[in-house]
Amino acid sequence: MIRLTRRHLLAAPAVLAGAAAARSPLAQAAPLKIGVLVTLDGPFAASGQDGLRGLELALRAAGHSVAGRRIETVVGPTDARPDVALRQARKLIEQDRVDFIIGPLSGSEGIALRDYAKTIPDRTIINGSSAALETTFIDPAPNFFRFITHGLQWGAGLGEYVVRSKGWRRIATVAADYSFGHTNFMGFAIDFCRAGGDIVRRFWVPLGQADFGSVVAQLPDDVDAIYLGLGGSDAINFLNQYLQAGARMNFIGGSAMADQTILSSRGRAREALIGTPTSGMISDENPDPAWQGFVRAYREGFPEGQRFASPSFFATSYFIAARAALAALDAVRGDLSDGQRAFQRALASLVLDTPLGAIRLDENRQAIGPVFVSEVTQRADGALYNRMVRRIDDVNQTLGLPIEEFRALGLPGRDTPNCARLRRSG
């Protein structure tokens, strides 16, 4: 079990505050309170704990103080349900009186917080790892900032890669039947169909359907590959039952399909993924020195057994969110007066150096940044990781399509996008 908690987060600033006080008279100023909205219960509990580790890394690097103000954190634990996230956010703002919130973790929580943000214009929410398109695409809130790319953006490059480099043109898809599954699939499909690919069949599997026996049996065998847009234990179950059926087919992995939570799961199922191209916000073996430095800091920062082999998407997201907050606070010298207007302006105009590369925000305060295409590879010690094969920079919310054209595709859903139409236009 991971033992990084609010107690640790609080213990460190207590020590550091003494050191900072000697350096600057401003340290006497009131401490800065950050509310951290993170999922610590249910299937995402382990992810939430890794998110906290990422946040802690960023705060440690800053000595738990910014512009002479000591930083305190208050954790608001959720179970990934939007109404719980809302209640915790309200508690953080109204009861604990935090200055701003970093979080939440999951997509539907993000959408709920977007609307909550509109009711607290004098405070700020910096998104943690929630990655729903709607949060920053439909009716965005002026004080909600997201410095990570979202589920649709993560599809960028993958479709073109499998068509051009792998020569896979005819595929079937199996994906989770809920908003993230729809969104992530749409990002892939836009790219794939424009590159000339064809999707012959779409299987949408309801959440909570653990037995894929009959889905596996229905998969057509006259296709080049199968796109898998599942996550968590659904992904494990599918792979497990796929192996048992003894079939062998090329896979294309959605962004939740080949992340460390699955690559480091216990059992044999994950081995079915070796060689699978996938894409997402991070790539485990990204040679960029910035990323390598981040991985090293993560590994040195937490004892083995209390962390993943390499920082997960969640650790990276919360790290980036905290870094953005710190950078903007630095820019305004810790001044949050005037309803945080200066702080919010600073956030909106940041060009943030992150372990992934430079990230800036669009007019909806959504990140424009890099997306990585990787292939699942086995290391000599047997561990699986994502080997980076391509990097696509400056991916925006519409995957480079003009906004009107993008809107015409429709919102993510079971039947969007229309592959044939995209193929003709692409």
Partner: protein
């Protein structure tokens, strides 16, 4: 049986026709017209087999639940937690010793002991107070779920399938006929077939024990009239404890099986508790035959639903249960309470 035929000739005929049509669907190669309506035969057969084998897993979990309820009227809503705990312990044993089979006796003993503790600490103290038992076991399952989350975290665990069970096998079921006249046989996961076989063996063994032995006689007597059994000076409490231990042990073993062909993660406890509830309600509380029938129906509903109407497949099983409860509250095989 003969009585039923004489009483309900039309219903019998209808059932016979349905069974015959079904057998034809399974056994005969399909003409093109049927394929047009129902899709390839391979898909249909797989849906049926997946349903049956999933039903086997449900039977393993639910048979313990139904025995305990039938005999003691104890509603153990922590049954799902026993399933998940058994799976996690089974994973640890299999992982450390490298032996999948060794996990079974160890897990059975551990979860059976937990069952005995439950019987002594909780159920004996509140005999006959159904609502209170329900509530206490709900509380227990909340606590156990959080403890398991603390120990094993939110990751997915999957118990390694031993070599003799991995991979597919060919079944003597024809899915199609090649142009040259060769039959194409269905390939199906070996592990699922074995689980089905194990469940059938276990089910028959349980039926024999209950219907053909002295202990079984005591259990049946207890199901029918607990007060009379106690009054006749037989060791009722010992039978209760034994049945509870056996039921809990079965749940633990089912956890290993579930962890082998699905996976273990937080939330699986609730899923299997709900599945067991649906199974025993459809089949009839307290009846082993009922649990088998219920598990079969629920497994088939789930998998056929997933094949032919995936969007609402998760809804069907609950509607099925509500329908049974509303129109035959005692379950298909249950006796009027």
């Amino acid at each position: 049986m003969t009585g039923f035929v004489q009483r309900r000739p039309i219903a019998t005929l209808a059932i016979a026709v349905v069974v015959a049509f079904f057998a034809w669907l399974v056994l005969a190669p399909w003409p093109p017209a049927v394929t047009e309506v129902m899709g390839p035969k391979r898909v249909f057969l797989s849906a049926i087999l997946s349903g049956v084998t999933l039903g086997a897993l449900y039977f393993l979990v639910a048979s313990g639940f139904t025995l305990i309820f039938g005999l003691m009227r104890n509603v153990n809503l922590a049954h799902g937690s026993l399933y998940l705990l058994g799976g996690y312990i089974g994973f640890e044993v299999a992982d450390r010793t490298g032996s999948w089979l060794l996990a079974f006796p160890i897990v059975f003993v551990i979860t059976a002991l937990i069952g005995i503790v439950l019987q002594y600490v909780v159920f004996r103290r509140m005999e006959g107070e159904e609502l209170r038992q329900t509530l206490v076991t709900i509380g227990l399952s909340i606590v156990l779920a959080d403890l398991m989350l603390a120990i094993w975290g939110g990751r997915s665990y999957q118990i390694l399938t031993p070599d003799f069970l991995s991979g597919p096998m060919e079944l003597p079921l024809v899915t199609a006929v090649r142009p040259n006249g060769d039959f194409v046989y269905l390939r199906y996961p070996r592990v699922r077939i074995w689980i089905l076989a194990a469940a059938i063996v276990l089910g028959i063994a349980m039926w024999l024990v209950i219907n053909r032995t002295r202990i079984g006689m005591l259990i049946r007597a207890g199901v029918d009239d607990r007060e009379m059994l106690a009054a006749s000076g037989l060791p009722v409490q010992a039978v209760f404890v034994a049945v509870f231990a056996f039921g809990a042990g079965l749940a633990g073993i089912a956890g290993i099986v579930g962890g082998t062909f699905q996976s273990l993660s937080p939330g699986e406890d609730t899923r299997f508790l709900l599945a067991s509830l649906v199974v025993v309600i459809v089949g009839g509380m307290g009846s082993i035959t009922g649990a088998a029938l219920g598990a079969l129906i629920v497994g088939l509903t789930e998998q056929i639903g997933l094949t032919y109407a995936p969007t609402y497949s998760v809804v069907f099983t609950f509607l099925l249960m509500a329908a049974v409860l509303a129109f035959r509250p005692q379950g298909l095989m249950g006796r009027r309470l």
